[in-house]
């Protein structure tokens, strides 16, 4: 578990239209060290896509589909967590990340789509900008977690993975973990 512990809340998912983007947001959350994601209004197929990655590449990582974002924020606050909302309108990440990290309280990181209710800006303890230009919530989440964990997130060890990559300058080198006892099974391009 990376410190501080982090959970993602995905708002503003639009039926079908956003399914691949929301899947990417979930995969970024997992790959960059968050322990789970709550998706408001997401389809079962989105949860299934992310869960499938966790099953193959390891966890733990939890995906929950929720109806109401207010409940998630309330629960987080009741448990003493800090709420961070990523928005291009916020304070530059580099001005606040040290303060957020050093508080060492568990974090809820909210990422929205195009329209986020005003209320979210007021419920958040921090409205944080990953640059003040429009881009992508998947990218914003990645940069935020990378700053929070200072690049250490890439060293995360995932448990119960069936596949593991051996970094390679050319081609694909994948180790099937189940077969490692008898010798490495390398699928090289």
């Amino acid at each position: 578990m990376m410190k501080p512990q982090c959970w993602v809340l995905r708002l503003g998912h639009r039926f079908v239209r956003d399914d691949r983007l929301t899947t990417h947001v979930g995969l970024v959350a997992r790959a960059f060290g968050a322990s789970g994601i709550s998706i408001v209004g997401g389809e079962e197929s989105v949860k299934a896509s992310i869960d499938k990655v966790t099953e193959r590449w390891g966890g733990p990582f939890t995906v929950e589909l929720v109806e109401d974002w207010r409940t998630v924020i309330k629960r987080w606050k009741n448990e003493g967590g800090v709420v961070v909302h990523l928005t291009m309108y916020g304070i530059p990440v580099d001005e606040v990340i040290d303060e957020i990290r050093s508080a060492d309280r568990k974090l809820l990181v909210i990422v929205g789509a195009e329209k986020v209710p005003k209320e979210v800006f007021y419920e958040a303890d921090y409205n944080v900008a990953i640059g003040n230009q429009p881009h992508s919530e998947a990218a914003a989440l990645a940069i935020f977690l990378d700053r929070l964990y200072r690049g250490e997130e890439f060293k995360t060890k995932f448990n119960n993975s069936k596949l593991r990559i051996m970094p390679s300058s050319r081609g694909k080198k994948v180790v099937s973990v189940e077969e490692r006892i008898g010798g490495e099974n390398e699928d090289r391009v």
Copy 2:
């Protein structure tokens, strides 16, 4: 213009299914300091979405739709550029970014979707991993450019922008650049 100069090549776009993701990749390229993107097999609507952001939030940033990625790579190499391919199978970014940056040659950064032809792994001067876990090409591009430009990309000044954000701890504060002479037009939540 940020140094080294950077251009993005988007591969593997699937008709309609990937339009929002490819748009996000283009917006990340612009927001994180690249000067343009070539999209293989992209729709006019994807180009229009990115161009619209450039028109409102400033440039320069160029979007071109292309049929053949080989031509783009060949052109780049003929002009003395370096080709970087972002892939989860590659060498960790933190091991190669200093070498890439210090070469100070213009860069072509290739981001693919799920299937990337083997040939790309061999055409690339560097196959670079943004972590060895599956996540998102939008996130991978953002982290790569952030490492390349050491966070300086957020200070980029865009030209001819109609809108500019004033960072704010609560709500939205947008300056309409055309009206700044007569006083700031602030759209506050």
